[in-house]
Each structure stands twice: as C-alpha cells, then as structure tokens.
Amino acid sequence: MRTFRCLVFLASSTLLGAPTHATDGVIEINQAKAIAGGLGGDVTADPPGFPVRITEPGSYQLTSDLDVTVVTLGGIEIADGVSDVTIDLGGFTIRGVSGVNVSPPLWQCTGGGGVGNPAGILAVPSAARARRVTVRNGRIRKMGGNGIDLGPASHVEHVQVEQNCGYGMLLDDQSHVLASQARANRFYGIFCGDSCRIVDSVASENFGRGIFALDGALISGSVARGNGDTGIVVSEGSRLAHNVAAANGAAATAGAGFALFGGSSNLSGSISNRNDVGVQAEASDGVGLSVIDLNTTPAAGSAPLWTGCNLISFLLVPSPVCP
C-alpha cells in the first residue's frame, strides 16, 4: 500500500509537470524533455522532438546528453529574434549520427551529413537573428551540418566541436571564442565575422581553414594544426599574437600557416612551421618576431614567406627573401 501511494504520488507529480526550472531559475534541457517538447511550456512553440526550440530569452542548462538520431534534424534551435540566451552544456554532449573520416587529402562526411543539414545549435538566420547567445562547457559532435551556427555578439567558451559535416563554428560579427576546440570538421574549424576575438583555442584537422576571421579580428594563444587549408586566416585590420600554425595545407595547393588578407594587419610572436607557405601577407601588413621554418615550396608566383615587403621594417634581421 505504501509503495502504491509512493507510485501514485510520483506519477501525479510528473503529470502535474516536472519542474522545468531548476531552483536557480535555469531551464533544463535533456533528452526526455526534447522528445516531449514544450520547453517553455508551449508545445506549439516547441513541438515534440528535435530540435529543441528556444523561444524565450533566458538561461538554459543541459542535464543529459542530447542524441539526435536523425541526420536531417538539429539539436537546439534559437528562434528568430530571441536574443540573450545562455546555454550551459553542463559537461554534456549534443551528438548527431554523422561524422568525418579524416584521411588527408580527403575529408569524407559519413552518415549522410553534408551541406544543408541543420546545426547542433542554431540561431535561425534572419534579419532579426538572435544576438548575444552564449554557449559553454560541453561538446557538439557528429552533426549533419554545422556544429554551432550563431548570430552577432555570441560567446563560445570551453566547447568542443568535432566531426561535424559543416563548419565547426560559424559565428557572426563581434563574437568571442574562448578556450575551445574545433577538430576534424568537414569545412572550416571556426569561421567568424568582423571584430571577433578568438583566444586560447585549438583548430586541428579540419578540412578547410582552421580559423578564419574577417576584419578587425584578434586571435591569440591559439593553435592551428593539420588543417587541410590555411591554419589561420584574417582580413583587414586584424591582430594575431602568440599563435602556432603547423602542418597545414594537406588538402590545398598552397595552404599557409597564416594568411593576412586586405592589409593593415599584424602578426607577431608566433610560429609557422611545416605548412605549404609560411606567412602570406600584403604590403601594408606587419609581421614581427616570429619563427617561420620548414615550410614547403608554394605554388608558382608566390613567395614562401610572404607577399608584402614593407614587412621588413618590423623585423630585427633583414630578410633573405624580400628584395
């Protein structure tokens, strides 16, 4: 009788609605809730099944792995216009059923993933795309599309994106990546818009570029190794300091350790070794105090070290390469 009363009590608690909010106001996401739907209490806004659809700003936390067993489905989707969302992965993993077989010069997507498939975490693209989304503390692996695909001013911290059949991370302008890893993704490891900051991170064995950030980027303390194309690429007015780029270019004709496009960028205190090209830069870029060693012969018509020659003004020893 006592056991029966317990079961009745537990069952009624569940039917009345297990608390969606943790005691600290954080909203829990787990496999069971994903299947049940109604994350914000509204099954219309978040229908049962994947992706979990976030339609309200707030703080969310995974309380289990999310296993997305259909390649055409994403993990978590942040609805159009829903800014200011934090997702703490809680040490858990969002895991798809695709994968990437890395066998340079080939990177083959497995499990049916590829272009057009949804991301592990996606802020729906639109004119009112969600801004200021934070993702931290976990992994996104083997998704059919991108690992993470977020809008402007996003923040990714202590996250691994691995073996996704799109980009590891695809982030819009003014985003920030801290102490994260992008490994063995089918396209670029990390691709970020203008004014991004990428710090203390690793991009390795991605098919395309390891890290690619547009104008005004700051990239420091990071390693790009064994990527199929150039290790770290930035465009106009960017700063790169204290990075290592090694053994990049296995899938490209002239993958560089570092490539500075658009001019007015600065690279210093870094290592670029064993790539196709050491550093590719333009005339208004500065390259100072870096070790550039054992890079192989590039494609005809470009220098192994750089393409701009006022770089020499930043160097302490005259270059034997620049005329």
């Binding site: 809680g90 105090l289 870096s290």
Partner: protein, 309 residues
C-alpha cells in the same frame, strides 16, 4: 506525513538515485564500493576503480580512497568518448607517495598499477574528449591523470605525489590553471597541438613540462624539476613562463621554437636552431653555460637560414 518526508521516503523505496538534480551522475566512496556507476554491475563491478562505460557528465560528491596501492580511482572504458568528470573540489587519493630528496626521487612502488583517472588504452578506441576539472589527484602508484585519447582537457586540477606522471594527455589537449608537483616522473606531458596555460609545475623527478610539438606553454611557473624543466619538441611557443632550477638544464626546445618574455634562472637553456627568443631574462646560475645554441635575445630566424648570428 509531510510532503517532503514522503518524497524522501519514496526516493529510498524506489532506489537511491545516481543522478544529481543537474543530471550529472554522482560518484563517491559509497557508490564506488557498491559498483554500477552506470547502472550495470557487470560493467562496473563493486570496488575500485570506478569504471565509466557511458558518455556523460559525472561529479564527485566525496573524496575517493581506493583501498589498495594496486587500484586506480576512475577508469574510462575504451570506446567511451565525451566524458566530463567534475571533481567537485574533492580528491582522489591513493596510498602511495613520493619521497623528494633532490637529486633523487623515490617511491615504494614506482609505476605500479594504480592510476588516478585513466582512459583505458584501446588504440583508436581510447576515450576522446574527456574533461577533468576542479579537484585533486594524489598519491597514486602510477600516473595521476592519464588521458591519452585526443582532445582532452584538464582544468583546475592538482596532481601531486603520484609515482608516475602528474598529468599525461594526448593530442589536441588543453591543461588550464592546473598544478603538477612532486610526482615521480614528469609533471605534465601532452601530445601535439597542446596548450598548457597557467600551470604550476615544480619538484617532479623526471622533468617538468613536455609538450610533444606544435604547442603553446604560457603563463606558467616551472621550478626545480629533476630533468629538463621544459622539454618542448619541434615548434613549441613559450610565452611569459618563469623557469628556475639550480641543477640540470632547465629549458630545452627543438627547432622552430620561440620564447617570448619570462625568465630563466639556472644553469642552461638550449634552443635548437632555428629558434628565437625575445624579452627573455636569463640569469646565470652557479656555473656552466647559460646559453647554448640559438638562444640570443632579439634573434629572428627565417626558414632555410642557419643558426642565429
């Protein structure tokens, strides 16, 4: 009967929950002794080591004390990727210890069977993407934290007095804000494309830091280790690191390396050409050569060039 009491009673009657409120699986001395951390006594028999066979997030809720020197603390079974272990500020404590009497380091049982946290070796199936954070791994008969699969991370962990390596990780690893002191062998070892940031590494018998190339060591202090304090393989970037040692070589880097800022106090530093250093303070110790090879301030070496002028 109050509602709270009923909930508590029901929880006991139905079975003690291994899951914490946040979904993480709890590990403590009692659950280790009982076995079945993933609900399967065949996969995790009672006693140590706790054997993790499922991906997920785990959290210690008490110190772990394996009862025998031959036993490890936590074993992650081969093929089990994506495991996070939050030590919750607790310790996994073996019953060994290192006697530190430089220039000798000794253990009653060196390189024994007991490993604090281990990814079970399985070749390509060795667990990847393991995260260990926030606690201590002390006094094991072999290595403290041994995660040889790719992509692992150790954060805010102290590994001390282990009779092997303090922390040993594979490729693409990150060690952040952690300490490895007074271990019998190396303090920290990691594979290629490794980042060691904010480390304290002192008085380890076999040497301090050993990144295996294409790696970054920054913001760390390394002192009085038995072998090389920092032994970096090809293309190692060392930024703002203090190295001090009154015995043996203290900084040894293979070609293509770069040292920026920081200081070296001791007998010698060896950088294989072509390498470079800038803004590095080098203080001579009690004798011998303080600079060998390509270490010279303000030297920049380009590909195909020889040793620094």
């Amino acid at each position: 009967v109050s509602k709270l009491a009923l909930i508590a009673f029901c929880a006991l009657a139905v079975g003690s929950a291994a899951f914490a409120r946040d979904g993480r699986i709890e590990i403590n001395q009692a659950s280790a002794t009982a076995g079945g951390v993933n609900g399967d006594l065949a996969a995790d028999p009672p006693g140590f080591p706790v054997r993790i066979t499922q991906p997920g997030s785990y959290r210690l809720t008490g110190d772990l004390l394996p009862p025998s020197i031959a036993l490890g603390g936590i074993l992650i079974a081969a093929g089990t990727d994506d495991v996070t272990i939050d030590l919750g500020g607790f310790a996994i404590r073996g019953s060994s210890g290192v006697v530190v009497e430089p220039p000798s380091w000794s253990c009653a049982t060196a390189f024994g069977a007991g490993i604090g946290i281990r990814a079970e070796p399985g070749g390509a199936a060795t667990s990847k993407n393991v995260v260990v954070r926030n606690g201590r791994v002390l006094g094991f008969a072999n290595t403290g934290v041994d995660l040889s699969g790719d992509g692992s991370r150790v954060e805010d962990v102290h590994a001390e007095s282990n009779c092997g390596i303090g922390i040993a990780l594979g490729d693409d690893a990150q060690i952040e804000s952690s300490a490895a002191n007074r271990n019998l062998a190396l303090g920290m070892l990691c594979g290629v494309a490794c980042r060691i940031v904010g480390g304290v590494v002192a008085e380890n018998g076999g040497g301090g830091l050993r990144p295996l190339g294409d790696s970054i060591v920054s913001g760390s202090t390394v002192r009085d280790n038995g072998g090389d304090d920092i032994r970096g393989f090809e293309s190692t970037l060392v930024v703002d690191v203090t190295v001090s040692d009154d015995a043996l070589a203290n900084l040894r880097l293979e070609r293509g390396s770069l040292v920026l800022g920081g200081s070296i106090t001791g007998l010698s530093a060896v950088l294989e050409a072509p390498s470079a250093a800038w803004g590095l303070t080098v203080l001579r110790g009690s004798g011998s050569t303080d600079v060998v090879g390509a270490l010279s301030i303000a030297c920049v070496v380009f590909e195909t060039s020889g040793p620094c002028p």
